[in-house]
């Protein structure tokens, strides 16, 4: 079975958006992480947006994904936003206290990239 999750990277001005889809677990997370990190290092954005709108499942590997990107961005003056979370993914991230390090919004909530 191929990796059951994918990522599409979009760049616009000073924002890198990573649109994630599928099931994020320990099996599928590494290539996603790599693609996001490469984009961040190349584009040096002011904001990284992780779009979870098409994610159908997430376990604590999703927490690791957000936490790891936060650590990468810490020295880069880059803001981190996690958007379109399902109520399940939101619950998992809140449990880890990720709302303290990133701007978390559920699907359907309004989101405006603030620079």
């Amino acid at each position: 079975m191929k990796a059951n999750a994918e990522v599409t990277i979009k760049t616009e001005k000073k924002t890198v958006t990573a649109v994630l889809s599928g099931e994020i677990d320990h099996h599928s997370a590494p290539p996603i992480r790599q693609a996001i990190d490469e984009a961040v290092i190349v584009f040096e954005p002011e904001e990284l947006v992780l779009d979870f709108g098409l994610v159908s499942f997430m376990d604590s590997s999703g927490i690791g994904l957000v936490m790891g990107r936060y650590r990468l961005l810490e020295d880069m003056k880059c803001k981190l936003s996690v958007i379109n979370l399902s109520s399940h993914a939101f619950k998992v991230m809140k449990l880890a206290g990720l709302d303290k390090i990133a701007n978390l919004t559920k699907g359907g909530d309004s989101y405006e990239g603030k620079k």
Binding site: F57, S60, I63, G64, H88
Partner: protein, 145 residues
Amino acid sequence: MKVKNEMKLQLKSRSVNEGYARMAVSAFACELDPNVEELNDIKTAVSEAVTNCIVHAYNNELGTIYITVKLLENSTVEIKIRDRGCGIEDVKQAMTPLFTTLGGDRSGLGFSVMESFSDSLKVTSKKGKGTTVTIVKRIKGKASF
């Protein structure tokens, strides 16, 4: 409590099986008519436990993961996930939120997630022999809406 239905599943400790394990267990639990949230809770807890077997117990070497799922008459699902891997020296420490022996992108929250998404979690382990994780989840189904 009487067992209504039971399933045994044996998987190689390959990471691709994380997805199969959570899908098989959650599909089996559907007989108890869980709601979407409960189904996600089961999937997540199973995913964490199976990942632990692969990453920690067998340390990325090939071993076997044994999963037993019992559906009990009081609308409860009991999931046992067992390995014959390295075992955990200090279970209490392993279960401490954010504790991880691996670093990198491992959050150290696997047990915390299992704990908060189940009604009870039991971990027994013996160094060099393996670990058994028992997850119990009551299914309220649509009644909880």
